[in-house]
């Protein structure tokens, strides 16, 4: 049966869907927002937010039952923690297939992964948007930095991002709130890198936390330095759809939010040559519904959005909506990481910190940005994230067996340690792909996703440098027990939770799915604005970019709607 007619439908409520809902509603469009999972109300549904370890059964250790139900989510090692596991899917209920291992980490509920994201917020630069064209990789981005810069500003001013402007061409400045303060060991490292390495800098992590004042939403206030962000923040101090964009959309009176709505198909109308309806299965009643709209924003996150397009077949699009190029589902990327170094700092024994910062340090990309920075071994680059801390117990503990001396030692902090891990760019490769398996259906009778992807030669070559340079920085700072590491043997795409690129943007419908406004080239009332649009991955954490592109696309769509073009 066909339900109501709307001006716009937004599919998904995560970091992209929230922004699409807010911008469309604020532009006056009657908007239906569909979410496949349950409702999560800001604050009310963060039931673990104030629990200490002794409030949790067994000190909060992960139970065998969670490990069994969430065996793929557990590959991260942290999202199955009982304090936040309810924000991640059950792998038995939501199966997928792997030709090559792919860690697909998902959150099916209102707010999606915006509730549990890493909050690192970095702009892409002109170097990133020009890269594919310059080195002849994949296809050219159809936009340049100047096109998106004002939208980065628009988003940053609204969500609140803390950080420090450095004026770097490879990492553009942002609209910042005051940065997180470096602790004394991080400051020591910053001074050392400035003195010993003339090609790179250490800066506070740029994170989407309010560090001063407030921002719009449901009573958002400044960070209380509890670092329990993944449980949902009762202060609304970090940005999430639940605390910020969805309340803004709701306040307009134009939003209808419908949880438990599993979208599986967008219907293409041969007469109007546009999408006309969205089909859903109600997750509670299991009934099918269709909803009509003039504009559809697909923001279900990379893999689900691509999967919906693949299921949206028609006479005109037998291989999936907008898939004339054959690129839909291909070119999947994620950042490669868990490579770097750690070391001991034998200073500041009388120093300690108060407060638990939600972000440490960042070292912006310094490779292949011209001059002496160019590498012979790989193209593109990487940044480092990390931080310094005191270990939880004095080192003497390891040498004692029992008694008052041991007891005293376990109550004292240990020495300082510092660690960094690189986040490297992954090149788009047509052979890295996801596709649908119609022989293995899920409980809704829908096809499951199969992944077949891995990192390539360029990424592997880059990792050597990621490890070596981290070691070099710590050694030059005079730190002890410097240990480089590279977890390449246990690697898989997806672990970065930055999966992207399966419905890429481009100039040419023959080689790409979306145009420069995130519209399907050949079905212009469908916009795809989650990670699937990414033409290259850059090395920066991508969520800020998804938000900026979504805001830009939604405002473009609203304008076209008002002009009668959509």
């Amino acid at each position: 049966m066909t339900d109501q007619q709307y001006d716009a439908i937004v599919i998904g409520t995560g970091i992209s869907g929230g922004w699409a809902a807010k911008e469309l509603c604020e532009n006056g469009l009657k908007t239906l927002v569909l979410e496949r999972g349950r409702m999560i109300e800001h604050i009310k549904d963060y039931h673990t937010a104030n629990l200490d370890p002794w409030d949790m059964p067994n000190g909060g250790r992960i139970t065998p039952e969670i490990k069994e139900r969430k065996f793929k989510q557990h590959r991260t090692g942290y999202v199955t923690d009982p304090v936040c596991e309810h924000f991640f899917v059950d792998d038995i209920k939501h199966p997928y297939n792997e030709v090559r291992r792919f860690d697909w980490i998902r959150g099916y509920h209102v707010g999606g992964k915006s509730l549990v994201w890493g909050r690192q917020s970095y702009r892409l630069s002109e170097i990133d948007f020009e890269a594919n064209k310059k080195d002849g990789t994949a296809v050219d981005w159809p936009i340049r930095y100047k096109d998106i810069a004002p939208w980065y500003s628009h988003v940053e001013k609204y969500i609140g991002v803390s950080g420090e402007n450095l004026g770097l061409p490879q990492l553009p400045d942002s609209e910042f709130l005051k940065p997180l303060t470096l602790n004394c060991a991080e400051e020591d490292f910053k001074v050392s890198v400035a003195k010993n390495m003339n090609d790179r800098v250490v800066t506070p992590a740029r994170v989407a936390h309010i560090t001063e004042g407030t921002k719009p939403g449901l009573g958002r206030s400044t960070c209380q330095y509890r670092n329990r962000c993944m449980r949902g923040c009762p202060y609304g101090a970090y940005f999430s759809s639940n605390s910020s964009t969805l309340p803004a959309a709701d306040a307009t009176g134009n939003m209808t939010l419908r949880p438990h709505s599993i979208v599986h198909k967008i219907i293409y109308d041969e007469k109007t040559k546009s999408a006309s309806e969205v089909e859903i299965i109600d997750g509670e009643t299991r009934q099918k519904h269709t909803f009509k709209a003039k504009i559809i924003f697909l923001c279900a996150s990379t893999v689900p959005s691509t999967s919906i397009l693949m299921q949206s077949t028609s006479k005109r699009f037998p291989n999936g909506l907008g898939n004339d190029s054959g690129e839909l589902g291909h070119n999947i990327m994620d950042h490669h990481f868990v490579v770097g170094a750690s070391a001991k700092i034998e200073k500041f024994k009388e120093k300690y910190y108060k407060g638990r910062k939600p972000g440490g340090i960042y070292i912006p990309r310094f490779r292949n940005i011209g001059g002496n920075s160019d590498s012979k071994d790989f193209i593109r680059g990487y940044g480092y994230q990390g931080g310094a801390y005191r270990t939880s117990m004095s080192e003497v503990v390891a040498e004692l067996k029992y008694g008052p001396e041991l007891k005293e030692a376990i109550l004292k902090p240990g020495g300082w340690r510092i660690g960094v891990t690189g986040f490297g760019e992954t090149l788009p490769d047509h052979n890295n792909k996801m596709y649908l398996d119609y022989d293995k259906l899920d409980e809704w009778g829908l096809p499951t996703v199969t992944f077949d992807a891995d990192f390539g030669e360029n990424e592997l070559a880059m990792r050597k440098d990621m490890k070596d340079q981290a070691v070099k920085m710590f050694k030059s700072a005079g730190y002890k027990d410097v240990e480089g590491y590279d977890s390449i043997d246990s690697r898989a795409m997806g672990l970065g939770i930055h999966e992207m690129g399966t419905a890429r943007m481009g100039h040419d419908p023959k080689t790409s799915v979306l145009n420069k406004y995130n519209q399907i080239h050949t079905c212009k009332n469908v916009f795809v604005t989650d990670g699937s649009f990414m033409t290259s991955s850059a090395c920066q954490n991508p969520s800020l970019t998804y938000m900026a592109f979504t805001a830009r696309a939604a405002n473009y769509a609203a304008k076209q709607f008002k002009n009668g073009n959509l």
């Binding site: 000190g59 250790r61 139970t63 004394c184 120093k351 108060k354 407060g355 067996k401 008052p404 007891k407």
Partner: protein, 186 residues
């Protein structure tokens, strides 16, 4: 949660407070009573041995001992509810071996053992550096589990270590001024 209520009633739930003798005696009245409590994973003999060992590892000083914050009751439940089958099997077997070794070396009557006997056991059978057998591995596991569960017990977390659930600020300062030299519990 009688212990918790008792502590809250005397206003000890917030802030950095050094445990006083009064507090410790109060804790005594709330800690595991071996006559009433029954283990769910270990047998009674193994639980008795563990209770003796944890108080040698973390004895009573001006702050509570391991048993005074119910470390054994916590670990016994943790073994049952969290560890996988392989690990549980290993623990069951090795605890049995440990009890056999104790009986052989010290006394058939577990209740007659002294603290000195347990110190002797740890001195001779917990091997920190060098080749470690199953008994040593178990003793080392008991040591690390005891430390972990002691530190995340409510009393120690809130009153012995430095506790600050809502710091509100983040900066570096002097260790003594910030926490009196203690670690933060969170």
């Amino acid at each position: 949660m009688k212990r918790r209520d008792a502590l809250k009633n005397i206003g000890l739930s917030a802030g950095l407070i050094v445990a006083t003798p009064t507090v410790i005696s109060l804790l005594n009245s709330c800690s595991t009573d071996s006559n009433k409590w029954s283990p769910v994973f270990l047998n009674k003999e193994q639980a008795k041995v563990l209770m003796e060992i944890v108080d040698v590892i973390i004895p009573k000083t001006d702050t509570p001992s391991a048993n005074e914050v119910n470390v054994v009751e916590f670990l016994d439940k943790y073994y049952k509810e969290i560890l996988d089958d392989n690990r549980q099997d290993w623990l069951k077997n090795t605890y049995a071996k440990l009890v056999d070794l104790i009986k052989l070396n010290y006394s058939e009557d577990i209740n007659s053992l002294t603290q000195e006997n347990y110190k002797d056991l740890l001195d001779n059978h917990m091997i920190l550096n060098g080749e470690s057998d199953d008994i040593s591995e178990l003793l080392k596991k008991i040591k690390s589990d005891t430390i972990w569960s002691y530190k995340i017990s409510e009393f120690v977390g809130e009153n012995v270590l430095a506790y600050d659930p809502i710091p509100g600020v983040a900066y570096c300062g002097d260790l003594q001024e910030l926490t009196g030299g203690k670690s933060w519990s969170l």
